[in-house]
């Protein structure tokens, strides 16, 4: 047949490849720095739009009783009396050195505070991501190659799972496993038991999304010629699934994991509140409610960094799972 309109890449010399890789890393790094800068700038100016006086917020919010002198002192201390662009540059300068500023309300520096909360959320998000993968894969394994009814049920389960609101699911799980069955704690505990319900709450809807994506590509993979080839070599259905189809099915789901991580962070806001888990989500929600601007900015910055790292990890993972060279047109 004729050549395709897009040119296939010709083999390249190894040295060029190394140089390209270095360039790619640098580009990536520049992109990450840009995103962080933009996130910081956007948040800084968005926060300026928030009604209310930051100095007042520092002194305990509108409910407190503060003197004009105290307000002036606080303004000077936090540099709030400076022109806005000076404040902006100061903020950027601080951020560049990793200083996230000081919380208005928590009598603490934001950096250590947010870092202390990061762990809990990361554990929650990463575990949920892993569990979501396992759930999605299990359902996919069970329902493919088992007839149309199983496939419909599997796909229906995924759609329902994807539609479950976190807060509702959390409630149902608590009533079911903590109140009725009494087997799992409804709040975070020092051991892993306390992680089960929050993780399920986050993982089940995500598994629904991942499963839908995986199913599409799984069915495509199962109908592709290389699977026929494998069957013709005597490969079993299980072998076809694990050795061939799964990896293809996983590819889009892997690329989706960056987005999934973001949605898990969103979900963490709700889940951490319900299950009384320490974490960024709860910190953020509290900070939003009391207008603790530095904490909000701090959480946003940390989440942005985590998101960027996660995106990079996702890219690396897809490159490992699919070592084929990328063409511009894609495949």
């Amino acid at each position: 047949m004729a050549e395709p309109l897009t040119q296939r890449p010709t083999p390249i010399r190894p040295r060029a490849r190394t140089r390209d890789r270095l360039g790619a890393v640098l580009r990536r790094l520049a992109g990450a720095v840009f995103v962080l800068w933009a996130v910081a700038t956007l948040t800084f100016f968005a926060v300026r739009l928030i009604p209310g006086d930051p100095a007042q917020a520092i002194l305990g919010g509108p409910g407190s009783q503060t003197s004009p002198e105290a307000l002036a002192a606080v303004r000077a201390e936090y540099g709030l009396d400076q022109p806005i662009w000076v404040q902006y540059l100061q903020q950027l300068g601080r951020l560049a050195t990793g200083d996230l500023g000081r919380s208005y309300g928590l009598n603490q520096d934001v950096g250590p505070l947010v870092l202390a909360q990061l762990g809990g959320t990361l554990v929650l998000a990463v575990t949920s991501l892993a569990v979501a993968w396992v759930l999605a894969l299990t359902l996919a394994t069970w329902s493919t190659g088992r007839g149309r009814l199983a496939r419909r049920i599997g796909s229906g389960l995924e759609i329902v799972a994807a539609a479950l609101p976190h807060f509702w699911l959390a409630t149902v799980l608590i009533v079911l496993f903590s109140v009725w069955l009494g087997v799992l704690p409804p709040i975070s505990t020092s051991d892993a038991r306390g992680l089960v319900l929050p993780v399920l709450t986050l993982a089940v809807p995500l598994a629904g999304f991942l499963g839908q994506v995986m199913r599409e590509s799984l069915l495509t993979a199962l109908e592709s010629p290389f699977v026929l080839s494998a069957r013709a070599r005597g490969e079993s259905e299980r072998g076809v699934f694990w050795r061939h189809a799964l990896r293809h099915a996983a590819l889009p789901a892997i690329s989706l994991s960056g987005w999934a991580f973001g949605s898990l962070i969103s979900g963490a806001v709700v889940v951490e509140t319900i299950f009384a888990r320490p974490g960024l989500g709860r910190t953020l929600l509290t900070a939003v409610t009391v207008r603790d601007v530095p904490v909000v900015v701090g959480v946003v910055m940390v989440v942005a960094v985590a998101y960027i790292l996660m995106t990079i990890a996702t890219d690396v993972a897809s490159r490992i799972a699919d070592p084929r060279p990328r063409t511009e047109a894609g495949r």
């Binding site: 807060f167 509702w168 509140t273």
Partner: protein
């Protein structure tokens, strides 16, 4: 050729799906959609009572013949409220999705049409927005503009916009580099005419599907904001707000949060099935 032959001979999923009768799930989804729309347009037709009428003395009644879904803490009939809430919830879902899609279309279109520099800029901008996970963006927005139903709608719309923008941009680029656009160039059509006659219609046709799929998620997200106390105001029978109110009584009156939650889930599921059905029909019509 052999490959084509197999396609013709073996009933393949995709080929058959387009022509086959709607599945049971799709029929159910269509019926449910009809029900929800009726509820939204003429709630009194399905539930003649007053959703706001309180009756403190018959509070917390479990589901019964008189109160299909039970009553809430103020003795209001939950079935009536759920039906009445369909309008608010659907309006929230649809409006938020329209805002998200609208922004997405604008961003995606200018990225995809106004040249590499604009594309680069918009892309970076989208990347930045993506670094704010959905609810974070919504929370930040609410922080700036204050809580309330309108803010919640815009916040949800805003937080879904980057996703839509990316899809639309990709679709635009895909369509623009497609063979039929090239064929139109060969026919001598001007760039603008190609854009309006071929590129935009083909780019925007998946919007219906995207929107339908998005409505469900928008309702879920708006409900999450209501749950966090940042959405609809009392005594509105918005599902998220009802669910949030009912959660307090979850151990003693499960029906208060179960039914609103069920309707959120059903609506989202229904939207997904319908969206997929539309998608399949568009692909194979």
């Amino acid at each position: 050729m052999s490959e084509l032959e197999i396609q013709a001979a073996v009933p393949r999923r995709t080929n058959v799906a387009g022509r086959r009768r709607p599945s049971l799930a799709e029929v159910l989804a269509a019926l449910l959609a009809l029900f929800l729309l009726t509820a939204a347009i003429a709630p009194r037709l399905l539930a003649p009572g007053d959703p706001l009428a309180i009756d403190p003395l018959s509070a917390f009644q479990a589901p019964s013949v008189a109160h299909w879904f039970g009553t809430d803490e103020s003795g209001r009939d939950i079935y009536t409220r759920v039906i009445d809430g369909a309008r608010d919830s659907l309006v929230i879902g649809v409006t938020a999705t329209l805002i998200g899609l609208g922004l997405g279309v604008v961003l995606g279109t200018i990225a995809g049409t106004l040249g590499a520099a604009v594309d680069f800029t918009v892309n970076r901008f989208l990347e930045v927005l993506f670094a704010f996970p959905g609810l974070l963006l919504a929370l930040l927005f609410i922080l700036v503009f204050g809580p309330g139903p309108a803010t919640a709608i815009v916040a949800v719309g805003l937080s879904t916009a980057p996703g839509y923008a990316r899809i639309i941009r990709a679709q635009l680029i895909r369509v623009r580099s497609s063979a039929f656009v090239e064929a139109a160039t060969v026919q001598g059509l001007s760039g603008r005419r190609i854009l309006t006659r071929h590129v935009l219609p083909n780019t925007l046709s998946p919007l219906l599907v995207l929107g339908t799929l998005g409505i469900g998620q928008a309702i879920v997200w708006a409900a999450a904001l209501s749950y966090l106390g940042l959405g609809a105001q009392p005594p509105a029978a918005e599902w998220g707000a009802m669910l949030s109110a009912g959660r307090t009584y979850i151990t003693s009156a499960w029906w208060m949060s179960f039914y609103p939650g069920l309707f959120i889930v059903l609506t989202a599921v229904c939207a997904t099935y319908i969206g997929r059905a539309i998608e399949r029909r568009m692909r194979h019509a």
